[in-house]
C-alpha cells in the first residue's frame, strides 16, 4: 500500500507522466512503475489518479494513445508524447524548477 504522504501531489502528476512517456511509448502500468523507479521508490502513483490523469492528458492532446502488444505479449494501451506535449513538458519542467528552487531558497534561510 502506498503511503499517503508519498502520494504524488496533484498537478505534479501531469509533469511526471509527461516525463515518463518522453523517452518512449509506455502503457499505464509501466508509467506507474517508471515513476516509482525514477524517484528511487519515493513516489508512488495511485492507479486511481493515474488513469484519470492519462485520459485527461490525452483529451488535451499532450499525449497520444495507441493499442499495442506488451513485453509479455498482451494487448496494452501505449501512451506517447505529442509535439504539444513536449512543449508542455519543457514549460512545466521549467516552472517546477523555478518553484522548487524558490522553496529551497526559503528553507535554506532558516
Amino acid at each position: 500500500m502506498p503511503v499517503d504522504n508519498n502520494d504524488v501531489l496533484q498537478g505534479t502528476l501531469d509533469l511526471l507522466i509527461l516525463k515518463a512517456v518522453s523517452l518512449d511509448p509506455m502503457h499505464g502500468w509501466g508509467i506507474a512503475q517508471r515513476i516509482q523507479q525514477m524517484s528511487r521508490e519515493v513516489l508512488q502513483v495511485n492507479q486511481g489518479s493515474l488513469y484519470p490523469a492519462l485520459h485527461r492528458l490525452e483529451d488535451r492532446e499532450w499525449i497520444a494513445a495507441e493499442w499495442g502488444v506488451s513485453e509479455n505479449n498482451r494487448r496494452a494501451k501505449y501512451y506517447s508524447l505529442t509535439k504539444t506535449g513536449r512543449r508542455q513538458l519543457a514549460a512545466e519542467a521549467a516552472t517546477w524548477r523555478r518553484f522548487s528552487a524558490a522553496v529551497d531558497a526559503i528553507l535554506a534561510t532558516s
Binding site: W29, Q47, Y51, A53, L54, R74, K77
Partner: protein, 882 residues
C-alpha cells in the same frame, strides 16, 4: 481545429459507448494482470498475488468513472441516461403522461397561437427601408375632436416647404381604375393608389423590376406612367418579364408600365392596392383650397429627430399656415409612427389576449405541478432507493427535471400543432382586412423559438418545485417507512397543493370575470337597435370612370340604373349611397346653417355628409319623420337631416325648409326637405352621429364610387345576378365589386369585438375546466390520504352526511379563499378592458357575484364526488390499512 477534434472524440465516446467502455475495461484488466505478475515475481503464490493486486487497485468502477469524467462526457451521458429513464417512466404511466402533455398542448398552443398573431401584426418590421423613421402626418382639428383627418394638397405644399423635421413628405390617395371590360374580357375593378412622385423614395420601397416613380416624374411624364403591384402583375399578366416598358389599357387610357413592386410590398398592412399612378394637382377639385382634405401624408423623419420633436415642429408649421388662411382656422397637424398607427386599434386587445393566454398556461402549470407533487409522494420510495444507492440530490433533481422537461417538450410540440390549427381558425374568423397583416401569420424561426422557450420555462415552472421537494432528503421518508402516509413531507406537500389550488381558483376567476364582462357587453352591443333593417339587402360597389362619365351625367346614370333595377321582378327596391354602413371614409365638410348666428369663436361647423339617391331611406328601412324624401326631379341638390342633426343645428327652431351652405363661398345653400330618424350606420354604440344626407346630384364632382343597395327576398347570388344583368344593359364594361349582403356588412362591423369575446371565452372555459380538475384532484387526494381517519370517525359513529360535509367543506374552503382573492384581483385588472366594454362597467357587481357563485357551485360539485367516495369507506378495512 483542436476543439473540433475534441468534440468529435466526445461524440464518438457517446455514440460508440460500448467500444470506449471495452477499451477502459481492457486497460484496467491489463493493469491488474501486470500487478498480479509483479507480486508473483516477488514470490507470492498466485492467489495471494491476485488478492494483493486487487487490494492495491481498489474499486475498478470508481476509476473508470473518474477516467470517464476526465473525458468530459459525463454530463451528456447522464442526460442521455436521464432521458432514457424518463421515457421509461412515461411508458409506465401513459395516462398520466398523456394528461400532462395534453394540458400543456392546450396551454402552450393558446400562447403560441396568440403570439403568432402578435408576431405578424405587431413585431415584424414593415417591408420598407428603416420603417422606424416613417411617420404618418394627419391634419387635426382639436376643437372638433378629429385627431386623424386627411391632409389637403395646399397644406402639403406649405408643410413640405416649412417643416424642419422630415427629409420629405409624400401624399397618397385611394381611387379606382379598371382593367378589361367590353372586348378586353371580364372587367376587373382595380384599386388604384395615386401618389406624389416622391412617394416611393419617402417610403423606401424598391422595384422588383423596372423602376418606381422618382421626384420630377410628374413634370416630365404627367400621369402616363404606372407601377403595378406584384399581385396584379402575376394575376393579369402572368408575371411576364417583358411587361415593363410596354403600354397597357387602364380605365380606357394608355399607360406605360414603369416598374413592378416586390411581392412583400404592402401599404401599411393593406394589400397595397393594384396599381400606382402619379397624383397630379389637377386631379383634386379645388386643389388650392386648404380645407380640401383629400389625401393621406407619410413622411420620413430626419436622422436624430424624434416623433415628439416632429409633432412640435409640425404644430408650429400648421399654426403659421392657419394664420395665413382663415379657412383652416383651428386646424393643426398630428404625427404618428407608422407601425403604432397601423396597429393602434389592435395592439391593446392582442396584448390583453396574450396576457389571458399566459394566465391559462400558468393555471395549467399549477395543475401539473399539483399532479407532480401527488406523484412525488407516490415515487418517494423509488427516490429513497436511488438515494440509498448513492444518487446525489443534484442528480435526483436533474433527473426529475429532465422528466418534466421532456413532458413539456412533447406538450410544446403538440401545442405547436394546436396553435397552427387555432391560428388558421382565427384567420378565418376575422373578416379580411380588419386586422392589419393578419394574413402574414406563419410559422417562422421566432415562433419556434418562442414555443421552445415557453415549453422549457413551463417544464421548469411545474417541475422545479416538486423536484426540489421530492429530492430533499429531510422531507423524504426513509426506506423503512416506505412512503407511509402522514409523514412530515406529505403534510407539507398537502399544504402546498392547497395553496396551488387557491391560486388556480383565483386566476381562473379573473379570466371568467373578464370573459363574463366582455360577453355581456357584446350581447348588449348586438341588441342596440341600428335604426335600419339589414335583412334582404344586397350591397355592391360601382365606380364610374371619369373619362366616359363626366360629372354631369353621373346623376342620370344612377337614375336610369335604379329605374331599371326596380323594374326587375326579383327586386323590390334599389338605391345608392356613397359609403355603405360602417364603411370608413366619407365626406366631412364645413357647413353653415343659413339664418343661424355664427359660432362664438368664429370657427367653422363640421359635419359628415352622406350622399344618397332617392329611395335610400325606404330601402334601408329608416323612417321618414317629417317632410319628404329627396327626389330625382329636384332641380337643385336637396338635403335630409337625421333628427339629431336637426336638433344640433336648429336647437330652438324647425329645421324643415331651412337651408345649409357648404364651404365659404356658398351663399345660397341647399334646402332641407325632410327629417329622418337616427340610424347607426357609422358606429355601433354611443350617441347617434348627426348626419346630413345630400341628394347625389350635389356631390357629382367628388363622389365617383357608390354602394348600390338592392332589396328583395331572393338569395344573394340571384339578386346580384339580376343587378349585374341590368347593369350590363347600360354598360357592359363596368364591374360590380365588394358584393356582400347587408347582414354580412353589419356582421363585419363587430368582427373585432366578436374575436375578443370568442377568444376570451375560450380561455376562460379552459381555465375553469383546469380549476375544476385542480379542486377535484386535491380534495380526492386528501380523501385518499385520510381513509384511516374517515374509517375511524365512521366506526365511532359519525354519520355519512357528517363525513361528506367535512370533505365538501374542505373543497369549499379552498374555493372560497381563491374566490375572495380572485375577486380582489379582478377588481384590479378589469379596468384594462374598460375600453372594450359597452353598457357594462368593469366592476359590474352582478357579473362579479354571478361568477363567484358559479365557482362556488363548481367547487361544491368537484368536492362532492370524492366526498361520496369517503363515505363508502369500510371502517374495518380503512383501519386495518392505516
Amino acid at each position: 481545429m483542436r476543439l473540433v477534434r475534441q468534440l468529435l472524440r466526445r461524440l464518438r465516446a457517446l455514440t460508440r459507448r460500448a467500444d470506449v467502455e471495452r477499451d477502459l475495461d481492457d486497460e484496467m484488466r491489463f493493469h491488474l494482470e501486470m500487478e498480479v505478475e509483479k507480486h508473483r515475481r516477488e514470490g507470492l503464490p498466485p492467489d495471494a498475488a491476485r488478492r494483493a493486486a486487487l487490494v492495491s487497485f481498489g474499486g475498478v468502477d470508481r476509476f473508470k468513472e473518474e477516467a470517464r469524467d476526465a473525458r468530459g462526457v459525463r454530463v451528456l451521458e447522464e442526460l442521455a441516461q436521464d432521458t432514457r429513464y424518463a421515457l421509461r417512466m412515461m411508458r409506465k404511466a401513459p395516462g398520466y403522461s398523456l394528461l400532462v402533455a395534453m394540458t400543456l398542448a392546450l396551454g402552450i398552443g393558446a400562447n403560441t397561437a396568440i403570439f403568432s398573431v402578435v408576431d405578424a401584426v405587431l413585431l415584424r418590421p414593415l417591408p420598407y427601408e428603416d420603417p422606424d423613421r416613417l411617420a404618418i402626418v394627419y391634419a387635426q382639428n382639436p376643437d372638433r375632436s378629429a385627431p386623424r383627418f386627411s391632409v389637403s394638397y395646399a397644406d402639403w405644399l406649405d408643410w413640405r416647404r416649412q417643416n424642419r423635421v422630415f427629409t420629405d413628405i409624400a401624399l397618397f390617395m385611394g381611387g379606382t381604375s379598371q382593367l378589361g371590360g367590353g372586348a378586353a374580357g371580364e372587367p376587373e375593378r382595380l384599386q388604384a393608389i395615386y401618389v406624389t412622385d416622391n412617394f416611393f423614395p419617402v417610403l423606401g420601397a424598391r422595384a422588383a423590376a423596372g423602376r418606381l416613380f422618382l421626384p420630377g416624374d410628374a413634370e416630365r411624364d404627367g400621369d402616363r406612367a404606372v407601377v403595378l403591384t406584384h399581385g396584379l402583375w402575376t394575376r393579369r399578366f402572368g408575371a411576364s418579364p417583358t411587361l415593363v416598358g410596354q403600354t397597357i389599357q387602364l380605365g380606357g387610357q394608355s399607360r406605360l408600365v414603369a416598374g413592378i413592386l416586390p411581392r412583400e410590398y404592402t401599404l401599411f398592412g393593406d394589400r397595397g392596392g393594384d396599381v400606382y399612378m402619379i397624383l397630379l394637382p389637377s386631379m383634386i377639385p379645388g386643389v388650392e383650397n386648404h380645407a380640401q382634405h383629400m389625401t393621406q401624408a407619410i413622411a420620413r423623419l430626419r436622422p436624430g429627430v424624434t416623433l415628439a420633436q416632429a409633432q412640435r415642429d409640425m404644430e408650429a408649421v400648421a399654426a403659421r399656415v392657419a394664420a395665413e388662411h382663415p379657412d383652416v382656422k383651428g386646424w393643426s397637424a398630428n404625427v404618428f409612427g407608422v407601425l403604432s398607427e397601423m396597429t393602434r386599434t389592435i395592439d391593446q386587445p392582442l396584448l390583453v389576449l396574450l396576457a389571458a393566454s399566459v394566465l391559462v398556461l400558468f393555471i395549467a402549470c399549477i395543475n401539473i405541478a399539483s399532479l407532480q407533487l401527488t406523484r412525488g409522494g407516490a415515487r418517494a420510495r423509488e427516490l429513497a432507493v436511488r438515494r440509498a444507492l448513492g444518487a446525489t440530490r443534484r442528480r435526483l433533481v436533474v433527473q426529475l427535471l429532465v422528466e418534466s422537461g421532456l413532458l413539456a417538450l412533447i406538450g410544446g410540440a403538440a401545442g405547436l400543432g394546436v396553435s397552427v390549427a387555432a391560428t388558421r381558425a382565427l384567420v378565418r374568423l376575422v373578416p379580411n382586412g380588419s386586422v392589419p397583416r393578419l394574413e402574414e401569420v406563419a410559422v417562422n424561426g421566432r415562433l419556434l423559438l418562442f414555443t421552445l422557450g415557453t415549453a422549457l420555462v413551463t417544464g421548469l415552472l411545474f417541475g422545479l418545485w416538486p423536484a426540489l421537494r421530492a429530492a430533499d432528503p429531510r422531507l423524504a421518508p426513509s426506506l423503512r417507512e416506505g412512503g407511509r402516509k402522514g409523514s412530515a413531507g406529505n403534510v407539507q406537500s398537502a399544504r402546498l397543493r392547497r395553496a396551488l389550488v387557491v391560486t388556480e381558483v383565483a386566476l381562473a376567476l379573473v379570466l371568467v370575470v373578464g370573459a363574463g364582462l366582455v360577453v355581456q357587453s357584446f350581447r348588449r352591443m348586438l341588441s342596440v337597435n341600428p335604426g335600419f333593417r339589414p335583412e334582404q339587402l344586397a350591397t355592391m360597389r360601382l365606380s364610374l370612370p371619369r373619362g366616359r362619365y363626366p360629372d354631369s351625367v353621373q346623376f342620370d346614370f344612377y337614375r336610369s340604373l335604379i329605374d331599371r333595377l326596380t323594374a326587375n321582378p326579383a327586386i323590390r327596391g334599389a338605391a345608392a349611397v356613397n359609403i355603405p354602413p360602417f364603411g370608413g371614409g366619407g365626406i366631412v365638410t364645413n357647413i353653415r346653417p343659413i339664418g343661424q348666428p355664427p359660432t362664438t369663436d368664429g370657427s367653422k361647423l363640421m359635419s359628415p355628409v352622406v350622399v344618397v339617391t332617392p329611395g335610400y331611406f325606404k330601402v334601408m328601412g329608416i323612417p321618414l319623420l317629417r317632410g319628404r324624401d329627396v327626389a330625382w326631379t329636384d332641380r337643385n341638390a336637396t338635403l335630409i337631416l337625421s333628427s339629431s342633426a336637426a336638433r344640433r343645428l336648429w336647437p330652438d327652431a324647425d329645421a324643415l325648409g331651412k337651408r345649409i351652405a357648404f364651404g365659404t363661398r356658398d351663399t345660397v345653400g341647399a334646402e332641407i326637405v325632410g327629417i329622418v330618424a337616427d340610424a347607426r350606420t357609422r358606429e355601433r354604440t354611443g350617441d347617434p352621429l348627426p348626419i346630413i344626407y345630400m341628394l347625389s346630384s350635389g356631390a357629382s364632382s367628388i363622389v365617383r364610387t357608390m354602394t348600390v343597395i338592392v332589396q328583395g327576398n331572393a338569395p344573394l347570388p340571384v339578386m346580384v345576378g339580376a343587378a349585374r344583368s341590368t347593369l350590363r344593359e347600360l354598360d357592359s364594361t363596368l364591374p360590380l365589386y365588394n358584393i356582400r349582403s347587408m347582414e354580412q356588412v353589419v356582421d363585419a362591423s363587430v368582427a373585432q369585438p366578436r374575436l375578443n369575446t370568442t377568444l376570451l371565452s375560450i380561455f376562460a372555459a379552459v381555465a375553469l375546466l383546469l380549476a375544476t380538475v385542480g379542486i377535484y384532484g386535491v380534495v380526492s387526494y386528501s380523501v385518499s390520504q385520510r381513509t384511516h381517519e374517515m374509517g375511524l370517525r365512521m366506526a365511532l359513529g359519525a354519520r355519512a352526511s357528517d363525513v361528506r360535509g367535512m370533505v365538501v367543506r374542505e373543497g369549499a374552503l379552498l374555493a372560497a379563499i381563491g374566490i375572495v382573492l380572485g375577486l380582489v384581483a379582478s377588481r384590479l385588472t378589469t379596468p384594462v378592458i374598460a375600453s372594450w366594454l359597452y353598457g357594462v362597467s368593469p366592476g359590474d357587481p352582478l357579473t362579479f357575484a354571478g361568477v363567484a357563485l358559479l365557482l362556488v357551485a363548481i367547487a361544491l360539485a368537484a368536492s362532492w364526488i370524492p366526498a361520496r367516495r369517503a363515505t363508502r369507506v369500510d371502517p374495518v378495512i380503512a383501519m386495518r390499512e392505516g
